[in-house]
């Protein structure tokens, strides 16, 4: 297929993200290889889908809406074409954090209904069990589309879309993009700073002392690198008088509308199911259904 800039992208898009091979930390920021049908979707549309689902699901805290949304999301997952390894790696932080949050609520959440276990502050009740399950499903249902859709977004294309489709200021968008590229460099800086502390005889100190000192060293380097990058960008005319043009036009196409509609449909289905079953429970409203 051919994109608007006239460059061909045959077969699977490689999305050779930023800082390839520059360090592990940068991997999480880089786009992963995805099929052309996914790469062709405007990042703003992906952003809209994640936002619509997220907003719909934070309105209420119930099991039904979150479960419906999560099921529909999982049903659509194959369309993204991400391998199971990529999915697991990207979702790993959430798969750890969500159950931990749920357990906390299970043990300490607002008690209501029959008590199953009580020990000091721990108070497991019907109410806290339901709340815990609802929270677990909700975090997963909100985070899954956000994390996985962003895994398919190339930072450069996101910047193009933010500036051209959403009309955010070019200076701001390009500055953020440049900063993102520096992340890979700073990951390497962090590694070398650690080696350097050992080489300077300060490697035996406590963990906290070392972390604080090393973080300060990184800050100094980050400022220096950031300043240098800003100069380089200005030397390439950033801030020149006259309007900026964009070498990679970013526009919304009908296919982007379809994707956003799918997102709206997921949100609508989740909310409708919850209202229909009487589970809908606006946060801040009165107790359980």
């Amino acid at each position: 297929m051919t994109d608007d800039a006239g460059r061909t992208r045959d077969g699977a898009w490689t999305g050779a993200g930023l800082a390839a091979g520059d360090g592990r930390g940068a991997d999480l920021l880089a786009a992963v290889p995805v099929p052309p049908r996914v790469a062709a979707i405007n990042p703003v549309a992906k952003l809209a889908v994640a936002t619509v689902i997220g907003v719909a699901l934070v309105l209420s805290i119930d099991v039904v809406s979150a479960a419906v949304a999560l099921l529909l999301e999982l049903a659509l997952l194959p369309w993204l074409g991400l391998g199971p390894r990529v999915v697991m790696r990207r979702l790993a932080p959430i798969l750890v954090a969500a159950p931990l949050g749920a357990i906390t609520i299970l043990l300490y959440g607002q008690p209501s209904g029959a008590t199953h276990l009580q020990f000091l502050l721990v108070h497991v009740t019907d109410g806290s069990i339901e709340l815990a399950v609802a929270t677990l499903l909700r975090v997963l249902a909100i985070a899954t589309p956000a994390v996985l859709l962003f895994a398919t977004v190339d930072p450069t294309e996101l910047a193009d879309a933010l500036a051209q489709v959403l009309r955010l200021p070019a200076r701001w968008v390009l500055g953020a993009l440049g900063a993102l590229r520096l992340v890979g460099v700073l990951v390497e800086d962090w590694r070398v700073l650690g080696l350097a502390r050992r080489a300077r005889g300060l490697g035996d100190r406590g963990r906290i002392t070392t972390l604080v000192a090393q973080a300060f060293g990184l800050l100094v380097l980050a400022i220096r690198r950031g300043t240098a990058l800003a100069t380089a960008m200005e030397a390439r005319g950033l801030g020149a008088p006259g309007p900026r043009t964009w070498a990679r036009p970013s526009r919304l196409h009908p296919r982007d509308g379809v994707v956003v509609l799918v997102g709206v449909a997921i949100a609508a289905a989740a909310v409708s199911a919850a209202i229909a079953t009487g589970a809908w429970n606006v946060i801040g409203g009165a107790g359980g259904a």
């Binding site: 050779a16 390839a20 091979g21 700073l193 030397a235 390439r236 070498a247």
Partner: protein, 440 residues
């Protein structure tokens, strides 16, 4: 070509011409500077600036996008941008795909990429601020040839700042020597300026053709082996071996140079021998300097390491840990438990030897490149290690600092220390190396 002592304002002048010097709130400006008929800021893009550090000049993740950046800033219509991008990449001889990741380019390729990015803006003036100082010899030739081809094709004006004069001499018609504190010392044809100002320029750190710094004489006293690597494999992280099967002996009073292309694993080898990274395979035996500790340096505590093996990093900024030069020099010996009186004497001696005595109260990060390099060497010498590991000790230095560093390192070697130096610098290797390990 612009020359002058460090601090004469060469880089500042280039930045001013490029219109990236900053506003009135960041400094004072007197006199007039016009690019064409306009002030430089309004004419941004007419003068294209290429800086020294390849890392901080790469703006975007893909080669084509990076070159297109300048065109976009100048408002070139999108349909005209991509032909310009291809043309510029051709002009600098960078034949990789537009989607090629910039992070995968070598230093020389990155500098040519920066040059292409500037060329795509069709500037009338090309401003190069030490564009080859951070490159290996092959990279220097790459960039120089690319600039020559570009000038031939476009007829642009070239203004270049560089310590290594000979690289650019074929392309330069006029040499201007700036004076620290303001003014011009000399201005004319290269031959005339070098005849008249050669000695002063050489003293100020310029590599004047015919007056290059020379190496001190050798007092050879090769001693016992202090560190021995057998079948050593090195890895930056667990599992990613960059180099295997390395055998080498570091002997007292001998300087061993490690050379080879970028990415060959030279720095990783240096950090492994320096006791900072665990060997991925093979044996690193430092029993002769272990003094009762394990023969394997990676098992030593940090404060035990510093009085046995000292490592000078490629970028001085990575190894500074204190707020003043004095505290920086004191940090290592204090950690190693050296008595205060001994520390004082040692610091005084080192500060004098490396010309840091007037800078003791300064913040290490605010020093010039040459001062930072001298300080980074001094901090490691402060703990008096028997083995020194130096990563690119003369990288990007002017002729004066080079001469001083070479003299200091020769002195350390002749005192009987064992030195491993990673270096791209052919002159350095020729001047000091007794043995060379080439990682192809």
């Amino acid at each position: 070509m612009l020359l002058g002592a460090s601090g004469a304002g060469k880089s500042t002048l280039l930045a001013a011409i490029a219109g990236v010097l900053g506003g009135a709130d960041e400094g004072d400006e007197t006199g007039a500077l016009r690019v064409g008929d306009a002030p430089p800021v309004a004419a941004r893009g007419r003068a294209g600036l290429v800086l020294q550090d390849p890392d901080s000049q790469t703006i975007l993740a893909r080669v084509g996008d990076d070159v297109a950046f300048g065109c976009e800033s100048l408002g070139v219509p999108p349909s005209a941008i991509w032909p310009r991008v291809r043309e510029s990449l051709d002009a600098v001889g960078l034949r990789v795909g537009l989607d090629h990741p910039t992070a995968a380019l070598s230093g020389g390729q990155r500098q040519r990429l920066a040059l292409a990015g500037v060329l795509a803006m069709r500037p009338g003036i090309l401003l190069l601020d030490e564009p080859t100082a951070n490159l290996d010899p092959a990279g220097v030739v790459e960039v120089r040839d690319a600039v020559a081809a570009v000038l031939e094709a476009t007829g642009a004006t070239l203004v270049v700042v560089e310590h290594r004069v000979s690289t650019w001499l074929d392309l330069v018609d006029r040499v201007v020597v700036l004076e620290a504190g303001g003014g011009v010392i000399a201005d004319g044809a290269p031959a005339a300026v070098f005849a008249q100002q050669g000695r002063a320029l050489a003293a100020a750190g310029v590599w004047v053709p015919g007056l290059e710094p020379t190496a001190p004489p050798r007092a050879r006293v090769a001693g016992a082996t202090l560190v021995r690597a057998t079948g050593l494999a090195v890895a930056r992280r667990r599992g990613s071996v960059v180099r295997a099967g390395i055998d080498l002996d570091l002997r007292a009073g001998v300087l061993t140079a490690v050379t080879g292309r970028n990415g060959a694993g030279k720095s990783t080898l240096a950090q492994t021998i320096g006791g900072l990274l665990p060997p991925a395979a093979g044996v690193l035996d430092a029993a002769p300097i272990a003094r009762g500790l394990s023969p394997s340096p990676i098992r030593w505590r940090s404060r035990e390491l510093v009085s046995r093996i000292g490592t000078v990093f490629q970028e001085p900024g990575h190894q500074f840990v204190a707020g003043t030069v004095l505290a920086e020099l004191d940090a290592g010996p204090a950690a190693a438990g050296v008595p205060v009186a001994v520390r004082r004497a040692r610091i005084d001696e080192l500060a004098a030897r490396l010309r840091l005595d007037r800078l003791l109260a300064a913040n290490p990060h605010t020093l010039s490149g040459g001062e930072q390099r001298r300080l980074s060497v001094a901090t490691v010498l402060a703990t008096a290690p028997e083995v020194l590991v130096l990563d690119e000790p003369t990288f990007g230095q002017d002729a004066r600092t080079w001469r001083e560093l070479v003299a200091v390192i020769a002195g350390l070697r002749d005192e009987g220390r064992s030195i491993l130096a990673v270096s791209h610098d052919v002159g350095f290797v020729a001047a000091l190396a007794d043995e060379e390990v080439r990682l192809a």
